[in-house]
Symmetry: C2
Subunit: 147 residues, 2 copies
DNA sequence: ATTCTATTGAAAATTATTTTCAGTAAAGGG
DNA sequence: CCCTTTACTGAAAATAATTTTCAATAGAAT
């Protein structure tokens, strides 16, 4: 699988640098919902050292290219997540978040057909080219529900 | 209709102050998707002067009580929106956002039953008490699509 | 190899939001 | 009412995630 993220950057005209390779490689290994700071610490321990500025710059580029997604789960910092299909497997999913402790659960929903239909309707109605969507449910997790 | 927001704050034990009344009153009149700064400028022009700190404090309280919702549409600042049912009319809706210019469109979806069903399933599966959800579609608006 | 310029790290800057703190004013009992 | 208590306010300072600056470095192309 080499490094599809790095390839994509290269195709877009970005230079293939050691730092970008380190970052894109690590995105498969770091925790699935990582922060910039978290990725920075992850890299400090393992491979090489990449500056936080470069991490921000690279995450920004990958986000614009929609190779990763950027989420605000209300923690005061953003979390990122890979957004590439793994072979023929779609990685698309949604989130369930505890508003108290921030606990995060991925889930897949089975109404994509309906979301697509909705997207189609809105697309025509408002002349929008729809490229993506985000569904997040909020609640209290088991532990936090006892209060 | 007096001021249901202020009433709710009072019930929660917050003191009924002039500043909070000014703020809660203005939420019906300011643009529907306002920023803290935008509300501040709105108040500067009209009624009285409330400090930005107090605006942030009040919006924070209202958000925690879920009387308003706080959104990140990727502009670097949060936008807020009223979240109270207007009589028997549900104000619940979702958003369509242009990722280039930020153009924002409210829309209502007709699959609440299915979302509720999903919430029910997830609730049992993960022992979560689900209290809300957010659906946002991203795309390019008419103008921004030409590039 | 040489040139050109994108990229990097470190430090400084930015900026939305939060906190501090001393003065003010709700609330509520007498 | 008057008094006491303490939540609330504005102004200024602090915070902290992210961005920008800038001089040095290293891809990429010729
Ligand atoms: Mn996820
Ligand atoms: Mn809206
Ligand atoms: Zn929790
Ligand atoms: Zn647009």
């Amino acid at each position: 699988m080499a490094n599809r993220l790095m390839d994509a950057l290269g195709i877009k005209g970005y230079r293939v640098t050691l730092e970008r390779s380190i970052i894109t490689d690590s995105l498969q290994k770091v925790e699935p919902h990582f922060t910039a700071e978290g990725l920075y610490r992850f890299l400090q321990k393992r491979r090489s050292r990449v500056s936080l500025a470069t991490i921000y710059r690279t995450l920004s580029a990958l986000t614009q290219m929609r190779l990763i997604k950027k989420f605000d789960f209300g923690e005061g910092t953003y979390r990122y997540e890979l957004n590439i299909t793994n072979g023929n497997k779609d990685t698309h999913h949604h989130h369930l978040v505890c508003v108290k402790c921030g606990k995060l659960i991925d889930f897949e929903s089975d109404f994509f057909p309906q979301l697509n239909h909705l997207a189609e309707k809105l697309s025509q109605e408002h002349r929008f080219i729809i490229i993506d969507h985000e569904l997040t449910l909020f609640g209290y997790c088991k532990q936090c529900a006892s209060d």
